[in-house]
Symmetry: C2
Subunit: 361 residues, 2 copies
């Protein structure tokens, strides 16, 4: 018989990823404790919500601790690791604390990544860009980058970016990849098995995901996911974003958690990325990940409400955030279709209804 | 823009059907108020749980009121109807208050039903059985029958059933249908549209559903669902159970609510019967009901826990009831498969794991 009854899952972070983890986990006899603010989506449906300063109490009361966002309280992450409760473990989070660490780890482990160099400050970054990249590339702050923040795409007129010279922080300088398209894969590893969801085509604007769709079959991505989770001895769901150019893949970024490009799995896979994550960290068997039908997802960005007619086309997931802000993810829409053309047509329709006057980013 | 924000759904009854309604409705900006006991599954995840005696307060505070079980407090149903908030309306519930009313309604509206007669008491019921049915048939109490309770299948040795003679209540006496199989359809009607889910094959034992699977295509069932919901001016999701014999269908029973045989829609349809019900009663557009993959569902009856290895095969929905009882629905398992054979194989496996020593009913 199961030993799941009232097993307590601690989630660090109260955002929509934690919210969907709880929505998906409620069908199982699990309890959810969230470290966040009372108005956070996940806190509103949690069994208990703890303010940030009470992280020790929350971790002590949980059987296993996970996170829905890697840039949460370092103290909480460290404490959960110390108590041997953190899954995925701290080693995966540490790679994300500084961008160069992730890049170097991937390169050292022979994963395909864009050519890059690390600079200790802005002056060095600009010098590297000039000397080694012919003034064409991407300068990324090593710390604190998320959803496109702190990233400078320098295609021409590098003069404009001279302000970087005065920035006294670590940078990654990277070749600019003129990709054919972006794609990602969601994978999950438990103590005893590995499973991958079907990759998707992603469309980003200004570093933020607008929509994605699939299926997109790519065995190399599956292999990379398998090796990467094994190399990290990773437990849980992970998202890996790629650039694809002439059928070659390069890892752009990894996320040691459930991922925006995997929201489609709520409706187009038997088991979602969220349930799969919970299965992995509670040592249950993983579920079937084969896609059920061609799928798509559109993010609802910066809106305080959604047009009802969208329900004619798709399913709305409304996160219930207390305030809309520019670029803020307020919800998303999932669709399925009979083939990729059908799916793309539906995405076009949703984009027209949702962003009548374009997206403000 | 939508006017759904914080729209308040009142649910009469706190069982698993209300629980799944809330699980499925949480993705939308709806609030859920439940009339039930605090330990009821739906109450545990509701925004507010009201004790039975506070039904007026609960109904006054809700924008629309629905029910997850038709045999709930008559006062509450009547009051919600009076306040013009009940959906589906009282006319559908009234048919279920006495079995003969439903039977007569269906026959009067030219729906295919088994031959039946109504008896005012037990003595008359036995006389009708003898005179008109050659002592072979089913005697059903008109009131209070649910999950096989109060139903007597008289195939031989009618002497054994002489105790019915002393029962002073209304009965329906019905011909015994030696069906090839049982099946059901889940349909939904809103103010402006009608949609049907794919029917399923059902396996019942002692009046209780053990498992079902599909798809089973049957256009006549779709037509019956469309006409029936129209004749009742019905708003919401409805389950209709059939006997099928030599490809002819006869209505066995209807349920003016989401239904146990529609649990598969949580995983094998784009929109579930629960979300569809909420869409109908809040006047949203209905969603796509086409099945995504061959599907199956197994009820977990009378168990206080579930064997973890079942997760290898399916998804578990554990209702979190406080006590297991014989015949009590404690949870269910959804599966999908590549074809009906695959699905049936998985159901067999689950049955073996779950009911190692047979089902106690």
């Amino acid at each position: 018989m199961s030993s799941l009854q009232n097993y307590k899952i601690g989630i660090l972070g109260g955002g929509q990823l934690g919210w969907m983890m709880i929505l998906e986990g409620r069908k199982l006899p699990l309890k959810f404790y969230v470290l966040g603010n009372p108005e956070d989506p996940a806190c509103q449906i949690a069994d208990k919500c703890y303010p940030l300063e009470n992280y020790k109490e929350m971790i002590d009361e949980s059987d296993v601790v996970t996170f829905e966002f890697e840039h949460v309280s370092e103290e909480a992450l460290n404490y959960a690791e110390e108590k041997n409760k953190l899954l995925p473990r701290l080693n995966s989070v540490e790679l994300k604390r500084e961008r160069y660490k992730e890049k170097e780890f991937l390169r050292d482990h022979n994963f395909p990544v864009p050519r890059f160099e690390v600079a200790d400050n802005g002056e060095e970054a600009l010098r590297i860009l000039k000397n080694d990249f012919n003034n064409l590339g991407v300068i990324k702050q090593s710390k604190g980058g998320y959803d496109g923040k702190g990233q400078y795409f320098i295609k021409e007129d590098s003069e404009k970016y001279q302000f970087i010279k005065n920035m006294n922080c670590k940078f990654v300088v990277e070749e600019f990849i003129d990709f054919d398209f972006e794609a990602s894969i969601i994978v999950t590893r438990s103590k005893k098995e590995f499973k991958a969801f079907t990759p998707s085509f992603n469309y980003n604007e200004k570093g933020i995901l607008i929509y994605n769709y699939g299926p997109y079959f790519n065995e190399e991505m599956v292999k990379i996911g398998e090796k990467l989770t094994k190399d990290l001895d990773y437990i849980g769901t992970m998202g890996i974003e790629f650039f694809v150019k002439e059928n070659k893949v390069l890892i752009n970024e990894t996320a040691p958690r459930v991922h925006n490009t995997g929201h489609y799995t709520l409706d187009a896979s038997f088991v979602s990325q969220f349930e799969q994550h919970l299965r992995a960290i509670t040592d249950m068997d993983l579920g079937d990940t084969t896609f059920l039908k061609p799928f798509g997802m559109v993010n609802i960005l910066g809106k305080s409400d959604f047009p009802k007619e969208i329900l004619r086309i798709g399913k709305v997931y409304w996160y219930g955030k207390n305030q809309a802000k520019k670029r803020r993810k307020m919800g998303h829409i999932n669709i399925v279709g009979k083939d990729l053309e059908d799916v793309k047509g539906k995405i076009d329709n949703i984009m027209k209804i949702l962003y009548t006057e374009g997206i403000e980013l």
